[in-house]
Subunit: 763 residues, 2 copies
């Protein structure tokens, strides 16, 4: 029976079965459908990217649902980033003649690429299968945390062959592959490494490939030309069997003959950032060769991780939510070997003691909702692992600061801010332990006071980041202010009154850039002048805003809504401005030069993070009914079933976490506040099993599409008049019930005392 | 007082004082005058090479005595190789304006290079000093095993500056620098690494640089252009202080201000093949900042190592011999960190347990006389370290074979043969222990039976290496035969009769290539035909001979002199042919296309190893008086005082070891035989303190230039009629006395029983 016709492994009502791993793999989602474990190092799946793609951006994840041919199956991917790398250890099974070049998607059999069809393709959490139409090979993939497992169905009597291409990479460019090594060890093991200068220059990825059947024949190739010096690796000096090959453009061809049992070959690939020996050691994670058992284990891990959330909702929403949860549980991912060794931001090898080192911190995105969400659905140990990983990264940082955008242990300096601070503070304030808070506070201060980074020196001198001294000064000032506030919150909780006072003061820095004339936050020069002329739609790298315009960024004061209200002349002013944002006549062209600004509703760009809290700001002006209405606009338009269902890059779970929170009816506008702003639910009911074992449940009475508004709310059966949900109430286990209706209840949450922290700077 | 006018540290009659570190640094010697310890990892000294030198060969060692300007001071060098690499971590102190490019030797101040003069230059074992004329800085250098120590005399009130250039390298070429990293750690420590693709591709060299005074200012530069992708390392994203920089063309500029105590700066540099952290840890080897104490310690280490040999000879010969001993005690050099970690031939990190890992094995050269010499003058522990280093290298070899030409733990595949076998067998048979001989035998067999390397598969199939299947087949067949014989010897001593028999048979393989018509050893095709036309002067890469011609290579059957005698029609035939070799009318042009064929006397090329045993072959024909006469020709013409004193590359001590043996009156023609062939002495007397504590002494009665010949020989006072000296007799402690005279004694050593193993294949 075809593997494609087979019944899904997961029970039809299991959480796994509700996931569509292809959501977000087309359009702008940049998700990858490959097989992975929750927070696994390996994400093994198809790459459809072509090396000649001039624009790498759409192929950040390696795979695009719109493509018609597969290059091969590689072991590392980002899911949902706005920038690319990885695609390491690309394997492609084939039959017949050996082709060392991938060829062209539009010309079948012009290389080792193969056409495929979505009819003969299948993806589930922890499993991916596809038929390579040109080679007539069915491929199945699954993974443990550090090991990818392949099963190739060549067919009986067919000579099975396998190509390893170490030249290909995501976000490819001519100098990217700095060095690679391939080594045959006996007839069942191949190891190697690749060093690349991509998003994280000098990145080493080591691997060990084990075959279920002995190699009959192998070839190692180096397609480099113009090598200035080849040493004594000429015929007659170096061994002629090429058991080891080094260079920048390596391939391996492995042949297994026509006697494969059941016409199948299984291949395991373990990875390590440390060394080939460590990659070999990591193979121990998957000792057997039972593909189906590994697939079941992966599915079970997903069912367990996904199953903490029970959802009663429309089928499409249920699918979106479990897929969002699937996306939310991929990063920060494990990045250490079985024995705890890992490569840190100093590119040196360290050993994790008492925790599991994780990397892939897309912090500018994920501090907003992903990390707050993971605090609700992942164990304290996992959340503590994240914090401890951040802290050892700071200890090993050449600059002595916390990660900004880190993967495989290495810093990329992508995006702005020092957003490890809200992640740490939020975790600490919500009760995550297992790390030394004084040490954490020290690391946070080291980051917030490191003058050479991102204009912090100017920020401290002027109170803001002047646009004539540093790019993106408005965005930096806003986000630094918020990050400072989270440090103050943590310092206060530790009784560090002086530090708290200092940082509460710093948290008000954004006020320098509030322009009461226009109501926007504007770039200001070191001479104290706002930038002129002022165009609130101006956006661009190096402008005053980061991947955004004044229309999108001016409202990023999550810790001091009162200041926003005041700057806009009162509640009505904020509501009016928010309405203008959503209702402006904009067109795709306005922001088309900024690829990350996507998912537009007026100026509101749900496809990028600076907008994510905006709909919830109505609550600060006492108009939560408007939040409810905006959410009814946003949710259905920005999250759809289907490959192109996501309005923008998933950003390693941030887009997904936004949906998960919003669908449950609340959102962490200000991580570190221990409060959520209540919106409205998009489920009939949901139960979330919290890491402390308690259950938080949400129910929507009178749930229907036309019932956009919340009439009243009860918490544990008692009327809840505030648009604020306290984390403590949630964490104690609670039932939040929304009574939905077609007409707005403009009184609910309207009184000043019922709003989020608008009266004074939140403490 | 000028450091150049100061009295030498060493007592005038000390062994160190007798060394001239500049011998062999000019001409074809390729020696380096830098500061090093016996077998030290660091050899710290001047590089005069210029990056635009089109021919790198003369600059293999980095320094040429003929040059007039210095590029800087780097920490790794080979002494006497015929190929180049290294020159890592080049430091150049300077004052005044910063110049990032070295400039041109012929144009003063065109860059950071400085002119120098030999009048203001000084070298001693463990110490080097020079005045940088253009910068008016005196530089002193010394070293421990893993740490180089610099002392710069900028002068009082002068702002001291220091340039670090990670771009320069020996045997430079455009793609050589694959990656480098520089990192400031506080104000006294800089670490980094460089990865190069040179003689050993993918080589990593990590370092830690510590300053005696705090940095006032520093700059890190990357002069790469045309970088395809720079990531987010643009202004405004990455920190602006550049505490860490990565790239392929890095420099650092370090400024210390004008307040340096006594106008001096000291700099320590530790290296490691493992990691920057390990380099930092290696700094612990030299905890203090007392330059003079470190210099004294280095001198003491040399005096101890050199002092095992006491020499009474002409001043020039004494200088040559102590310099030869100095050269002989540099490689194989230590290549592990303080904690035993090292990088092996698999480019993975290992830890040496119970021995000290050494690398830089130039085995094709050094198995002949250097290793036999080190067995006589270095501790059993050191010799056992060599063997154990070879054995772990085999264990970690991707091919499972012993090193061929290894440095910094990595294989280069330079030259031919599996000459780790004679090194191991000779050591074992002469009593070196501390390793498992069965394990060693297994490693030796693995190397000798590895078909893919150097035509071994063909060698086993045909009994020789056919020229139509593999280059340099005649040389390979000859050397494999000898290597096989050493394996047989070791197997026999272990009671492995079957292996011994097999390898004694293999040791006769050379007979396939003996041509009784011409008396030469000739290339033979797989069809069994000698190569036609036959030109015994033909030499070239890929020809039948390795860096030689039939005239030079045909006599390499050290283990079976009888076969040579027979092929040449008897004793007279061999003597006649040997005379033809030395007396042929040759000219430099004949071999000028092969840079290693140097030091010609007829066809005899003392500058390269295949000739090294030839003068001793007269003894096999019962004519040792002719050996005596030839040595009197060779020694004065090939070894002279002065920078250009060596006739060819020192080859990491092999040329020097030849002189040391020959000057003492004997030579290890066949390592593994435990016998030496007696020549004639070039000293009045010598005492060698053996590692077992006994003393072997040599005395020459009637020593005078005109007394070329040996009249009689006594061993421990008894007449010694044989031209063979048994190792056992030497090792027991003995006195060998030569009675020199002007006329040959043609009877001494003439009788068949008095000759080296000519009657039967030696067992």
């Amino acid at each position: 029976m075809s593997i494609f016709a087979a019944r899904a492994l997961a029970a039809p009502d299991s959480p796994s079965a509700a996931v569509d791993v292809f959501i977000g793999t087309g359009g702008d989602g940049h998700c990858h459908p490959g097989a992975t474990r929750p927070f696994g190092m390996v994400q093994l799946g198809p790459d459809t990217a072509h090396r000649s793609h001039r624009e790498s951006y759409p192929w950040c994840a390696g795979y695009r649902y719109e493509d018609e041919s597969i290059l091969g199956f590689s072991h590392t991917h980002f899911s949902g980033t706005g920038h690319g790398d990885l695609g390491d250890v690309l394997l492609m099974p084939f039959t017949g003649a050996t082709r060392l070049e991938p060829g062209y998607p539009e010309r079948a059999m012009s290389g080792y690429r193969s056409r495929f069809s979505h009819e003969l393709e299948r993806g589930e959490p922890g499993y991916y299968a596809v038929r390579l139409l040109d080679h007539e090979i069915d491929v199945e993939l699954t993974a443990s945390e550090r090991v990818g497992l392949h099963r190739y169905h060549y067919g009986s009597g067919i000579a099975g062959k396998l190509l390893l291409d170490l030249r290909t990479s995501l976000y490819d460019h001519k100098d990217k592959n700095q060095w690679a090594r391939l080594r045959l060890r006996g007839d069942r093991l191949v190891t190697g490494m690749r060093q690349t200068r991509g998003w994280a220059p000098g990145r080493q990825l080591h691997f060990a490939i084990e075959f279920s059947q002995p190699l009959l024949r192998s070839e190692l190739h180096n397609t480099e030309d113009g090598i200035a010096y080849r040493g004594f690796r000429t015929p007659g000096r170096a061994p002629q069997d090429k058991r080891v090959l080094e260079g920048t453009k390596l391939l391996g061809v492995f042949e297994f003959g026509a006697e494969l049992p059941q016409g199948q070959l299984l291949v395991k690939v373990a990875i390590s950032t440390v060394s080939e020996d460590q990659a070999i050691a990591n193979l121990a994670e998957m000792p057997g060769w039972d593909f189906d058992a590994e697939r079941r284990a992966a599915a079970a891990a997903w069912d367990e991780a996904l199953g903490v959330l029970e959802i009663e909702a429309d089928e499409a929403m249920r699918r979106n939510l479990y897929t969002a949860q699937y996306h939310a549980l991929q990063a920060p991912s494990l990045f250490m070997d079985l024995d705890g060794q890992y490569r840190g931001p100093d590119n040196q090898v360290h050993r994790a003691e008492g925790f599991r080192y994780h990397s892939t911190f897309s912090l500018w995105d994920t501090y907003r909702a992903l990390h707050p969400w993971l605090l609700l659905c992942q164990s304290e140990q996992r959340n503590s692992d994240f914090i401890q990983s951040l802290l050892v990264s700071q200890a090993h940082s050449p600059h002595g600061i916390l990660p900004v955008w880190q993967f495989h242990g290495l810093e990329t300096w992508c995006m702005i801010g020092y957003h490890a601070l809200p992640v740490i503070a939020d975790a600490w304030l919500k009760g995550v332990r297992g790390f030394d808070p004084q040490r954490a506070l020290q690391a946070m201060r080291a980051s917030a006071e490191y003058a050479p980074y991102g204009g912090i020196g100017d920020y401290l001198q002027y109170g803001y980041v002047p646009f004539d001294l540093e790019g993106e000064g408005a965005s930096k000032t806003l986000e630094y202010s918020f990050d400072d506030w989270t440090l103050a919150r943590m310092a206060e909780s530790l009784g560090e009154a002086e530090t708290a006072a200092t940082y509460y003061r710093r948290a008000q820095s954004f006020r320098h850039l509030l322009d009461p004339q226009t109501g926007f936050v504007r770039g200001k020069s070191s001479a104290g002048e706002f930038r002129l002329p002022f165009d609130p739609t101006a956006a661009g790298y190096g402008s005053d805003y980061t991947e955004g315009s004044a229309w999108q960024y001016s409202w990023y004061v999550p810790h001091d809504g009162a200041a926003l209200v005041a700057n806009l002349g009162g509640d009505a002013g904020l509501v009016k401005r928010l309405d203008e944002i959503f209702e402006a006549e904009t067109n795709a062209k306005m922001y088309s030069h900024m690829e990350d600004i996507a998912g537009l509703i007026g100026h509101y760009a749900h496809g990028n993070e600076p907008s994510h809290h905006i709909a919830y700001l109505y609550a600060f002006a006492g108009a939560p009914w408007k939040t409810q209405a905006r959410l009814a606009q946003i949710v259905p338009s920005q999250y759809k079933n289907g490959a192109a269902g996501l309005a923008g890059n998933d950003d390693l779970g941030q887009m997904s976490a936004w949906l998960l929170f919003s669908a449950l009816g609340f959102y962490p506008v200000a991580p570190g506040s221990n409060e959520y702003v209540i919106g409205r639910p998009f489920v009939r009911a949901a139960r979330l099993r919290l890491p402390n074992g308690r259950v938080f449940s949400v129910r929507a009475e009178n749930y229907a599409e036309e019932n956009v508004y919340v009439g009243r709310v009860t918490l544990n059966g008692r009327e809840h008049h505030s648009s604020v949900l306290a984390h403590e109430a949630l964490a104690a286990g609670a039932e939040l019930v929304f009574h939905m209706q077609a007409e707005p209840n403009k009184d609910w949450g309207a009184a000043p005392a019922q709003r989020p922290y608008t009266q004074t700077p939140y403490r």
